[in-house]
């Protein structure tokens, strides 16, 4: 149960990283673990004591890096997962301590549906994607292989022409269906 709670809390943290993915994460984990509704789970983060958020976020960040990618979005037993057990265990203990904090428990108890709706509405207005014009170079993500290919051709000793084929505006953030671990998302 502890590992499930852990992933639920981790999922609530992940809510902040994207609407599509974390809807499913939160629903999957929350229903199985804390019996919270998805909406209630979404509100939890905002009710976290501010002083605890940073610590929680730091732990979650570290844990996310250590968990196998396919475990994200699923209810898994962290301690049984094929990861560096000793490494993860310390993080698990920190998270356990956090969610036992009286302030956090109070925050969970104080969940209110009215507030939840307001949070949902605010969350739906946020997106990590930029629509419209092409992004600036500093906002360009990924495509390292494509960049390498193009560089080797147009930037080679003997320049060569290249035909780049893809969906419109696919260079950065065009919605392309990808299968990302345990959940589907649109990117």
């Amino acid at each position: 149960m502890d590992s499930v709670v852990l992933l639920t809390i981790l999922s609530i943290f992940l809510r902040k990283v994207g609407d599509k993915a974390t809807d499913i994460v939160v629903e999957t984990c929350a229903k199985k673990a804390l019996s919270l509704t998805a909406k209630q789970s979404k509100n939890l983060w905002t009710r976290f004591p501010v002083a605890r958020r940073h610590e929680f976020q730091a732990v979650s960040d570290q844990l996310t890096k250590r968990l196998p990618p396919e475990s994200l979005g699923k209810v898994v037993d962290v301690e049984a997962a094929d990861v560096e057990a000793a490494d993860v265990r310390g993080l698990v203990e920190r998270l356990k301590a956090l969610i036992q904090d009286p302030e956090v428990i109070t925050a969970i108890d104080a969940l209110s549906l009215d507030e939840v709706d307001a949070v949902i509405e605010a969350a739906q207005s946020q997106s990590c994607f930029v629509y419209g014009p092409a992004v600036a170079p500093e906002g360009f993500y990924g495509r390292s292989r494509l960049i390498r290919d193009v560089r080797s051709r147009i930037g080679g000793v003997h320049p060569q022409c290249v035909n780049v084929v893809g969906m419109r505006r696919a260079g950065e953030e065009f919605p392309v269906a990808v299968n990302c671990g345990g959940f589907g998302a649109l990117f």
Binding site: K16, V17, G18, A21, P69, C128, F129, A134, V135, A136, P137, F140, Y141, G142, R143, S144, L146, I147, D149, V150, R151, R153, I154, G155, H158, P159, Q160, C161, V162, N163, V164, V165, G166, M167, R168, A170, G171, E173, V176, A177, V178, C180, G181, A185, F187
Partner: protein, 159 residues
């Protein structure tokens, strides 16, 4: 496209002097070869500081090639980025006969083309029952879905 234009250091070595010209063929200005050539002239003029050829000399077939040759001698590498290449389908009449001269210039390394579209350029011409004037000078790169690590990083950074 914009990445190449604004962050050329990622694509060219320090001793290479790139001169990138980016033209979006959905722009009405570039719905004809003459428009593309004029766009090229203006971009070069803006970057080099002088007009490579007179505005009204666009019909002279020698002027374009001579200037590219001169730029090459000066150490410039002219890279022409043609976005939305499918645009030629919608203005096929204007583009009749266009391309072979560009192919020759590319083969002579006077310019380098990067064409971007939703389909391979050979397929675009093939769908019109035409043969691509560019032959086999293009290598192909396909932009697919973002890698898992890339989109995860994107989401994390912008949360």
């Amino acid at each position: 496209m914009r990445l190449i234009a604004e962050d050329s250091g990622r694509f060219f070595d320090g001793d290479c002097q790139p001169l990138e010209v980016s033209l979006d063929l959905t722009n009405a200005c570039f719905h004809s070869p003459a428009g593309i050539q004029e766009g090229l002239r203006r971009e070069i003029a803006a970057k080099v500081g002088r007009s490579p050829w007179a505005e009204n000399a666009g019909d002279d077939p020698f002027v374009f090639e001579d200037w590219l040759s001169e730029l090459q001698d000066q150490g410039w590498r002219v890279v022409v980025l043609l976005d939305e290449i499918e645009g030629i389908k919608r203005h096929l009449e204007a583009f009749q006969g266009w391309g072979e001269d560009w192919r020759d210039m590319a083969s002579a390394e006077l310019l380098t083309m990067e064409v971007v579209g939703q389909r391979q350029i050979g397929e675009i011409y093939g769908s019109l029952w035409l043969t691509s004037p560019f032959g086999n000078i293009f290598s192909q790169s396909i932009v697919g879905p973002m890698d898992r690590t890339d989109w995860q990083q994107l989401v994390r950074d912008r949360r």
